[in-house]
């Protein structure tokens, strides 16, 4: 943020923040509307609970005045108090249950909506967003909101309790009530200020903890370097500094706690002292009964927790609002890529060669000032395979992204079977394009579900046929539980080649018109490269295929080769043609070979 802002800029910023905040509250209100009935029930239960709770000291008073001092029906009073015990017990349980259940329910619904929204946002958004940021929207920010919602019914009953107790105290003895209540607003005030001040302090502690975690993390991952150079002391000193910082910040927080918590504890005691002093004299003078005095004492203690809670809810509310603003930033982002209002249908005539792809005068850049594709034209016949070759950053992968509509071209058109991709429903378009990405993604799921990803209800037969085509069937059978083996980050770990073959099988199950292989051999042990190529060859036959080649060996699989240079088609033709006619092609090829050599390591 710049330090110099003009008044209008400040005003605009404040207005924006205010608008965001009110938007956040609106979201919360809308979400809570669904649960209005249950939240009201919770509040009602809370109010009932508060009234019975307030009645207990009143009954105690009667019991003392009437039962003990005047020899009245003691047993009856004791039974009434016991009965109230049952009621307050049940109601306090219900209040708690409703409050927590509803807050968790709201949190759950919020998380679902957020997740659905994030999943549907355009890839351009995801390319810029940080996973960690999105994660904390759906976890820690929602926790703040849950923490606030749970307090809503509780706060309502607290307010009722405070009002009722105050009323009773004033009715019993207005003068004593004033004296006794004087210190209590300070409880609320202290709780509020405490909540405000402790929050930044604990954030500071967390920040220092994160820095220490960084040092530990790099010391563990970089242990070879540290051992190799004997740099243990250097890292130890770094850690010591962070540990000292944590201690310092923690003690700051402790000082804040120490200056508020005992005060919050002691203030009600001052009220009790006042009751004993002023009230005692009034009993001696005959203005008050002993029972009243005891009841006063009990009532004052009943006020402590509600006052503390109400003090805290203000701060909780502010934190929840801030979290809502952040969540709203995500929720209010509209996906830039969406279904057309009047979608067209892809032709389904089996007699024709389906799967033709056409790029027509396409201009595109991730940043409009630096186009990656400039006036890019490409015509691929249905069933044809084409290899795209180009230097790093020449825009090879961008072609896939435009075809999939991860991004839209700034100008020009992309057609699938003669229909502009922007005129198709996204699901229809994407179900006809099978992509094997350069870095294979495996889900934490069984091999079967990983392969059947595009078609969750695919039969066992379909899955196995795809696995056989991609050459994965044999190794899958050798896995501990065959097709039911859980793979992925937390499951059984597979080699690069095995991962690739699963990814290819996944694309086959989708049975798409167009197959895009973003060089499926790049992450593979060179000795296995041949096998993958064999698998690719099998699945490519008779299907439109775009191969993005990072290794020379892959080029041979395609009917034609296109050389992409500076965002344009520099040359197109068969591999042999280009080798003999195009110098730039030979140069790119040579670079690829050098890279490939660097990779071909062990035998």
């Amino acid at each position: 943020m710049t330090s110099i802002e003009s008044d209008t800029e400040v005003a605009a910023r404040l207005e924006f923040e205010e608008a965001q905040r009110s938007e956040g509250w609106k979201l919360l209100r809308a979400a809570l509307k669904v649960q209005r009935r249950n939240l009201l029930l919770g509040a009602l239960v809370g109010i009932l609970w508060a009234s019975f709770k307030v009645a207990v000291p009143q009954m105690t008073k009667f019991a003392i005045n009437d039962g003990i001092e005047k020899n009245g029906p003691l047993l009856r009073w004791a039974l009434i108090i016991g009965g109230l015990g049952v009621l307050t017990g049940v109601l306090s349980g219900m209040r708690r249950y409703v409050a927590f259940r509803e807050s968790r329910w709201a949190e759950m619904l919020f998380r679902e909506r957020l997740f659905s929204h994030i999943l549907r946002l355009h890839i351009g958004y995801h390319d810029k967003a940080q996973t960690g940021q999105l994660m904390s929207r759906a976890s820690s920010d929602l926790m703040q909101i849950q923490g606030f919602i749970v307090m809503i019914p509780i706060t309502l009953s607290n307010v009722i309790q405070i009002i009722a107790v105050t009323a009773i105290l004033f009715i019993t003895d207005p003068i004593l009530a004033v004296v006794a209540l004087i210190p209590l607003p300070f409880v609320n005030l202290s709780a509020r200020r405490f909540s405000h001040r402790i929050h930044p302090a604990s954030i500071a502690v967390q920040a220092e903890q994160a820095q220490l975690a960084n040092v530990v993390e790099e010391s563990v991952s970089g242990v070879r370097v540290i051992k190799g150079f004997g740099a243990e002391q250097v890292q130890f000193e770094k850690l010591e500094k962070e540990a000292d910082d944590i201690l310092r910040e923690s003690m700051k927080a402790a000082r804040i706690r120490s200056s508020f918590m005992p005060a919050i504890d002691v203030l009600p005691a001052l009220g009790l002292v006042a009751v004993l002093g002023v009230g005692g004299h009034r009993v001696i003078n005959g203005d008050l009964t002993v029972g009243d005095l005891v009841a006063f004492n009990v009532y004052l203690t009943l006020l402590i927790w509600p006052l503390r809670n109400i003090g805290m809810i203000v701060a909780l509310g502010q934190r929840a609002a801030a979290a809502l603003v952040r969540i709203n930033e995500v929720m209010s982002t509209k996906s830039e890529i969406s279904d057309p209002t009047l979608p067209m249908q892809l032709p389904h005539d089996e007699t024709e060669n389906l799967g033709s792809v056409k790029f027509d005068k396409v201009v595109f850049g991730y940043n409009a000032e630096y186009p990656v594709l400039r006036n890019f034209n490409l015509d691929i016949q249905g069933g044809e395979s084409i290899a795209i070759v180009g230097a790093t950053g020449s825009g090879k992968s961008t072609i896939t992204r435009l075809l999939l509509r991860f991004y839209d071209a700034q100008s020009g058109h992309v057609y699938l079977d003669g229909i502009d991709v922007r005129k198709l429903k996204l699901s229809e378009l994407r179900s006809q394009i099978g992509v094997v990405f350069e870095d294979t993604v495996l889900f934490n799921d069984t091999v079967r579900n990983n392969i059947a990803f595009a078609k969750p209800h695919a039969s066992a037969d379909e899955v196995e046929r795809a696995a056989k085509l991609s050459g994965a069937h044999e190794f899958i059978l050798r896995l501990p539980k065959g097709y039911e083996t859980v793979i992925g980050e937390r499951g059984f770990s597979l080699s690069g080649g095995q991962r690739q073959r699963i990814a290819i099988a996944r694309a086959i199950v989708a049975n798409p018109r167009v197959l895009v292989l973003d060089d499926a051999t790049s992450a593979v042990d060179p000795s296995k490269e041949g096998e993958i190529r064999e698998a690719m060859k099998t699945v490519m036959s008779g299907r439109t295929t775009i191969v993005i080649a990072h290794r020379p060996g892959t080029i041979a699989l395609a009917d034609r080769v296109m050389l992409l240079d500076e965002g344009k088609v520099a040359a197109i033709g068969t591999h042999e043609d280009l080798v003999s006619t195009n110098a730039r092609y030979r140069e790119v090829l040579a670079n690829m070979s050098a890279d490939a050599d660097a990779e071909s390591q062990e035998v």
Binding site: T60, A63, I64, I68, L74, L75, A78, G85, V86, G89, S92, G93, M94, R101, R104, W105, F115, L119, I123, H126, M135, L212, V216, E217, S219, R224, V225, K227, G228, F229, G230, F236, A243, I246, L247, S250, A254, R255, S258, S259, P262, L272, V273, L276, G277, G280, I284, V298, T392, R430, F437, V441, F443, F453, A454, P552, G553, A598, E599, S600
Partner: protein
Amino acid sequence: MWAQGGVTDEDKLSRAQARTVIGRVFKMAAPFRKTMFMAFACVCVTTVCALAGPLLVRRGIDIGIRQSDSRSLNISVAIYLGVALIAYIFGRAQFLYLNRTGESFLRVLRLAVFRQMQRQSMAFYDRNKAGVLVARMTADIESMAELVQWGLLQFIAAGMLVVFALVLLATLSWQLTIVALLVMPLLIAASMKFQRDSNKAYLTVRERVGANLSALQEGITTVRVIQAYAQEEETIRKFTKSNRELFNSHEHSVRVSTWYFALIEFGGVFASALIIGIGGWLVHRGDVTLGTVVAFTLLLSSLFDPVQQLSQLYNTVQSAGAALNKLFQILDAKPEIDEHPGAIELPKVGDLEVHGITFSYAGSETAALKNVSIRVGVGEKLALVGPTGAGKSTLAKLMARLYDPQSGSVAYGGVDLTMATMASLRERIVVVPQEGFLFNGTIRDNVRIAKSSATDEEIDAAIAAIGATDHFSTLPDGLDTEVRERGSRLSAGERQLVALARAALVDPAVLVLDEATSNLDPGTEAEVEHALERLMNGRTVIVVAHRLSTVQRADHIAVIADAQIAEYGTHEELIAKAGRYSALAEAWKRSQSAH
């Protein structure tokens, strides 16, 4: 809201373990004995103050009000006021002393565990996953922070309050004490059941939270594949399922606490009913005074609240105990590679001689190296080649004493490496790993890691020695550029240059290189090659080679296969031999010209 924390059955400490953990904690906290004692003293004072209140009310009623003695009443009030003030002052002090003790303890614990981790050999890091080690130093220690901040205080105070309150009540009236205790068995049984159930519920919640977070993260990180295959709906459906499961576990844990808190609330009121009923009857009989009955109703909460608090804190304390136990295990792990008591300096120059070493990694049954001997003369360049897992990297690591062999020896200039000082060993023999690892900080800081005493000039000289001065001067802040998040700002080649500069800074006699298998960005590839050549010049070099060009430059080549040296000789000799090496060289050549 109640204290969280939970511990699985396998982590739960046995009685003996708990005793050991507590004993060690006190031993470690010995330096802050004084603050600890002060904290304890303050807690005692505030507890007494908390109990004094109702007692003073009793005195005021019985002696002052009921006898219409204004003076006595005033004395009670004055004392009460004084007690409140004392409670406030000592309340503040107890917070500060207790937090000071606790946080200082955590600091000492952090430093001790980290130092111990740093002393461990590579084998330790092979055995323990990085994530687990980081968790020990962060999550496990942080889990105790809450306890230190207020939990411990509450735990001690609650325990003391129960004891003090019981003693006090008994001295006031033994009859009413028995009445008050009538509810106790119910309360204790309920608390114990709650402690067990909530522990279980908490563990389920924790597990589901983890699963939910994983589902969330998987969804976000794999969004490209999900959208490419139009599987948004299906993925959302699965996530919803995990999300509902999380809700159910939360709901269950609320239910567990619901009946408990309901029972506690009921128990409190029910006990007062008993006190009023039976106490009133005793007043009529003249056995107790009215003030005592009132004091009892006021003191009841001093008896019930702490029991409730103790049961809630019990889980937190237990999980802290489990965390401490794990940390102490790290502290107890003996470093496998340590400096020998009578260690001597390695000579400035000398041959590196491997003599009959056998080595296997911990937990592995097969030997990584079997009776291997090799000698590398001063200034000689040795290339190690062979299939993956045959042992060439292991041999290189043993030659730099990253591990110690189980039998046999590695000597430099005639001195066994295990007899050398660590400092001289790290000065003579430097390992450059495959990938340049960067620490947070500037490029200069990253080079300085190799020699913390190096001046800026020495670092500039090291960069110049590998010919990278020009390259780094093009960066915005030159060598003072922050590398950010593990060097994500630098290319792989630049990171490798930093690693080489580190080696140049140490200026070792022996260089152990693990050649990168993956290729670098074309822009810096040549520069790295060039830097390597300059660095290797005039030094003894052992290189784990993956490229033909590297091997051809070596004086000797050792082919490692099946944990042994299968072939040894110059490039020409081995080609002539037409064995493993010549086959390997042939394959390398083929892959080069194939395209």
